[in-house]
């Protein structure tokens, strides 16, 4: 199979202005501040994309910022040391808002939506006795003990569940952009996933097909590329990939290869028979076979030459970053799959995620005007984009912002199904709209936007308190990274007129009311729901 000539994914060669840079920022970095947008514009297309995708595994300024947060306040203690679902949701939202390499967070969100684990199942799996002091530190003791060497702590169970979710999240942050194979292996052996999709109880005497099915159906290839016998054989090959429940270690839910539970008879997957005596090698083989499996797809004759995983994952990248309406049979999917599978130039391995995303974000297809403002912002993006763009902070991420994001339909670390969130139109329902608009209202109040913030943020951009056009365009430029149409501007002017009433000139207090109302209104615009 040869590398085909690109067309849609040829490098973008059109004009590079703040308009194109804004599209890139809306799609990859939760928008941008004016300084950030100016830097992306000045860098030129190629360097701008590089500056976004070449993030470090650890966001040091972010970690330092969190270390430096004052202790002793409920809010910051929750972010520094989350022990519940509420806390860990706030923990992540705070990181999204304050990350210095936001694409890392955006891509972690993609991966969380792709490799789903749900809080409810993880939390309910952790033994409640953990709160009684069971640290699993006594050899031979069952994990289910009523007490232990640690002092009782009502939060320990929650803290263990949080750690399971955070360890999985850390895989997304540190391995997400590399070789897709490494990511699949890491996820297969992630304790959180081993619990969530039950592979921890997949033993040779009682095979469990839950993970074996989903690693193909949802995590790599999509339906239609395997049969029920393949599911059973992969389940057998993955027997023994488990978590430690013998409590020989301090951490009772660590990865554990249960060699005695592994099925040592030959397995046949996609017609290939294998059986290794090396612990865990059958897992490696399964993932190799999945990644080489040529698509059964008949949607397009050309598809038959591509590995199913390269097509499926390319389709997921494209629907997340470019346009939800893209079908797996589309030309762009084929082109991206070809690069994803065949191009080994950077790194020397197939399925190089970072290089594939780099190619996508530099492609002419990505910047086509038909895609502008055609993706719906998810609830996290709705909140995070506004806070980042205005360089504001909400005083309560764990307990307040996280609740609003839940009300909008997204409980982080707890997607509704193993297939993740449905996205698109499903974000826009009546209750979700109410929650979005009410969070916009919260932002417009002094809880988030203080009088001081108004003065320092905006007064330098306006020409006196009567500069209504200046107020309106300020929020459009920050939140939409776009300018207002004449009709939209007119609605702002009417709003300001209504607020001003019959006064002939605007005082500072009326000016602040106009600013608050303008922020509220901007976040209710259809274009702000889109990106």
């Amino acid at each position: 199979m040869a590398i085909i000539a690109m067309a849609l994914l040829d490098p973008y060669t059109g004009p590079w202005t703040s308009d194109q840079a804004a599209h890139l920022a809306r799609r990859t970095t939760f928008g941008a501040t004016p300084v950030q947008l100016a830097a992306l514009t000045a860098a030129g297309m190629s360097a701008a994309v590089d500056s976004i995708v070449d993030y470090a595994p650890v966001d040091l300024p972010l970690e330092n910022r969190i270390v430096d947060l004052p202790s002793g306040t409920t809010e910051y203690d929750r972010i520094k040391n989350p022990v519940s679902d509420r806390d860990v949701e706030g923990w992540w939202l705070y990181r999204m808002v304050h990350s210095t390499q936001p694409f890392q967070q955006q891509f972690a969100l993609f991966l969380h939506d792709h490799f789903v684990s749900e809080w409810d199942k993880i939390f309910s799996t952790v033994t409640p006795e953990a709160n009684n002091g069971n640290d699993g530190s006594i050899p031979g003791q069952s994990c289910i003990r009523t007490s232990g060497s640690l002092p009782a702590d009502p939060n320990r169970r929650g803290a263990i569940a949080v750690r399971l979710m955070r360890d999985q999240h850390n895989i997304f942050l540190t391995l997400g952009h590399g070789a897709f194979k490494s990511l699949l292996v890491a996820i297969t052996r992630d304790p959180c996933m081993l619990i969530y999709l039950d592979n921890r109880t997949n033993f040779k005497t009682r095979p469990q097909e839950n993970f074996a099915r989903e690693i193909m159906e949802l995590f790599s290839m999509g339906v239609g590329n395997y049969n029920e016998q393949d599911v059973k054989e992969i389940a057998r090959a993955l027997t023994g990939e488990s978590v430690n429940t013998s409590c020989l270690l301090n951490w009772p839910y660590s990865y554990f290869y249960a060699a005695s539970s592994h099925d040592t008879n030959p397995k046949t997957v996609f017609g290939v028979t294998f059986n290794s005596s090396v612990p865990g090698e059958d897992t490696n083989k399964v993932i190799d076979l999945i990644l080489q499996r040529v698509s059964n797809s008949t949607v397009s004759p050309n598809h038959a030459v591509y590995p199913a995983a390269s097509l499926y994952m390319s389709w997921k990248f494209l629907t997340w970053f470019v346009n939800q309406g893209i079908a797996i049979s589309d030309e762009a999917v084929k082109e991206l799959a070809d690069f994803f599978y065949n191009n080994t130039s950077a790194g020397g391995y197939r399925y190089n995620v970072r290089e594939t995303l780099r190619l996508l974000f530099k492609s002419s297809f990505f910047y086509e005007s038909q895609h502008r403002f055609k993706l719906f912002k998810n609830p996290a993006e709705y909140v995070v984009t506004a806070l980042r763009a205005l360089e504001l902070d909400d005083p309560s991420y764990a307990g307040n912002v996280n609740n609003w994001v839940r009300e909008m339909g997204m409980k982080l670390f707890d997607p509704p199904t193993v297939d993740g969130w449905a996205h698109g139109h499903t974000w826009i329902n009546a209750s979700g709209v109410v929650a979005r608009f009410n969070y916009a209202n919260r932002m417009s109040t002094s809880v988030v936007l203080s009088d001081t913030a108004i003065d320092s943020l905006i007064e330098q951009h306006i020409h006196g308190y009567d500069d209504d056009a200046g107020i309106a365009s300020f929020f459009a430029s920050r939140l939409l990274l776009d300018s207002l149409t004449f009709e939209e501007a007119d609605i702002f002017m009417q709003l300001f007129k209504d607020i001003k009433g019959s006064a002939t000139t605007t005082t500072q207090s009326i000016y602040r009311k106009k600013v608050r109302a303008a922020l509220h209104l901007t976040m209710t615009m259809p274009r702000y729901q889109l990106k």
Binding site: F376, H425, N429, F437, E487, I491, L495, K513, P526
Partner: protein, 446 residues
């Protein structure tokens, strides 16, 4: 409050609400909503409540075939079967789970129907795919419809009959719009997860801000996504005041609803009906039926466990809802229809649970129901790969509701060919809905 009273309230009362008296103008959309004309379709006043049991309910432990020896065989359900005599007898052949005494009472009063063996050809065992079939009214081998069956039913019956009030349908107790109600050309039903928080907040300058939000979401557009957003915002604007009105209705049975999606959903549906709104179709949902493990506590306490808790909550909430309907003279115009994406395997698995199955039991409740058992008994002796075979297509059940409850046409909803070949022949066996003649005409209800 009756319809007429409520309209009066909207016209006269809204300007009296505290926040508007502080402002110079009433938001324009409030005026518009108050002027809306009623829809001239589905005018009988009858109400349908769809109740989803999400995850795949184990029908065999819900309605127990108490005369079937295979059910009690040690190889079938050794650790999770309901021990003989624990079930509540319905009709001799069938007994209901002991946690469902509330529903059993309604059965004895003739207000509950059991529909056995409902499913479709070539059953799919994926939650997602099978739910899609039940929500859209599609079946394997045919193109999956892009609209939910209720949306198609609505478009087919009501297009050209005026603009619906925002609350013509509602999903209550959850924020997600069910696929069943999605895709109408003309109408997006509101979703209300919590009645108490379903209102647009404004810090200051309320009327000015609400007017601006309205105008911003009503600019002319040719963009389908923007148009969709606009419709959703308009639905919110037109329904928040109504929900506040409804939410002021009292709880007639305090503690009678659980504080979860199903309890909150039925509680709000009851309030909306009792407040006199013209809502025709509600959708409520209860999750957690995917009982692969610990469905029952094995041993001699199999009437306890996750499934017991789910069915107990189902019975409690349905019982309270029906009582509130009865006490307010609404029982004869409500019909609750339950569904789940599939039943479960006949034999239990190794974890005191059951795996995904096929045909299943549905319920219909309310004053418009002919009580009894329909669809024959489940045939445990003749399984299809370990699962119950279906003898009633779920689209026939929907069609019975469309035709006999609403007096509308089902064939255009599911396709004439499907109607002729599958649905029409089954309808005669599905007389669980009282036909128009039997139910008081609610056209001038209120």
């Amino acid at each position: 409050m009756s319809n007429m009273n409520r309209r009066q309230f909207l016209k006269v009362g809204l300007s009296g609400l505290a926040y508007f008296t502080l402002e110079q103008t009433t938001p324009k959309w409030v005026m518009r909503a108050a002027r809306a004309l009623p829809l001239s379709c589905l005018t009988s006043g009858r109400i349908l409540v769809i109740l989803q049991q999400s995850g795949g309910n184990d029908g065999l432990n819900t309605v127990i075939p108490r005369q079937d020896d295979i059910y009690y065989d040690a190889l079938t359900r050794p650790t999770i079967h309901i021990p003989k005599g624990m079930e509540i007898n319905l009709d001799g052949l069938n007994g209901i789970h002991p946690s469902m005494s509330g529903i059993a009472d309604w059965y004895q009063q003739g207000n509950a129907a059991v529909l056995h063996n409902v499913g479709y050809v070539n059953p799919d065992f994926s939650h997602f795919t099978s739910t899609d079939y039940w929500e859209t009214g599609g079946v394997p081998g045919q193109l999956m419809p892009q609209q939910g069956w209720i949306a198609r039913f609505y478009d087919n019956t009501c297009n050209g009959h005026g603009d619906p009030e925002a609350l013509f349908m509602a999903r209550t107790g959850s924020s997600e719009l069910p696929d069943m109600m999605a895709g109408s050309q003309n109408y997006v039903p509101p979703t209300i997860s919590s009645a108490a928080s379903y209102s647009l907040q404004t810090g200051e300058d309320r009327a000015a801000r609400l007017n601006a939000i309205h105008d911003m979401n009503n600019l002319p557009t040719i963009d389908s996504d923007v148009e969709f957003l606009q419709r959703s915002v308009n639905t919110v604007e037109a329904s928040t005041a109504d929900i506040a009105t409804a939410n002021a209705e009292p709880d007639l049975y305090p503690g009678g609803y659980t504080a979860d999606s199903l309890g909150n959903g039925l509680k709000l549906a009851s309030k909306i009906i009792r407040a006199g709104f013209d809502t025709r179709i509600f959708y409520v949902s209860q999750g957690g039926y995917d009982t692969h493990a610990n469905q029952a506590i094995s041993g001699n306490v199999t009437t306890q466990g996750d499934h017991q808790r789910l069915l107990g909550n189902l019975s409690l909430n349905v019982d309270t809802f029906l009582k509130e309907m009865r006490d307010t003279g609404n029982l004869d115009r409500v019909l609750i229809l339950t569904f789940s994406e599939f039943g479960r395997r006949i034999n239990e698995n190794g974890s005191s649970g059951t795996d995904h199955g096929a045909a299943n039991v549905m319920f219909a409740f309310g004053g418009g129901v002919n009580g009894g058992v329909f669809g024959g008994q489940p045939d445990l002796a003749n399984p299809l790969r370990g699962n119950l075979r279906h003898s009633v297509d779920f689209r026939s059940v929907y069609s019975a509701v469309i035709e006999n409850w609403f007096g509308a046409q089902a064939a255009p909803v599911f396709g004439q060919a499907n109607y002729d070949s599958v649905i029409a022949p089954e309808l005669a066996r599905l007389q669980f809905v009282k036909t128009n003649a039997n139910v008081k005409d609610w056209a001038n209800y209120g």
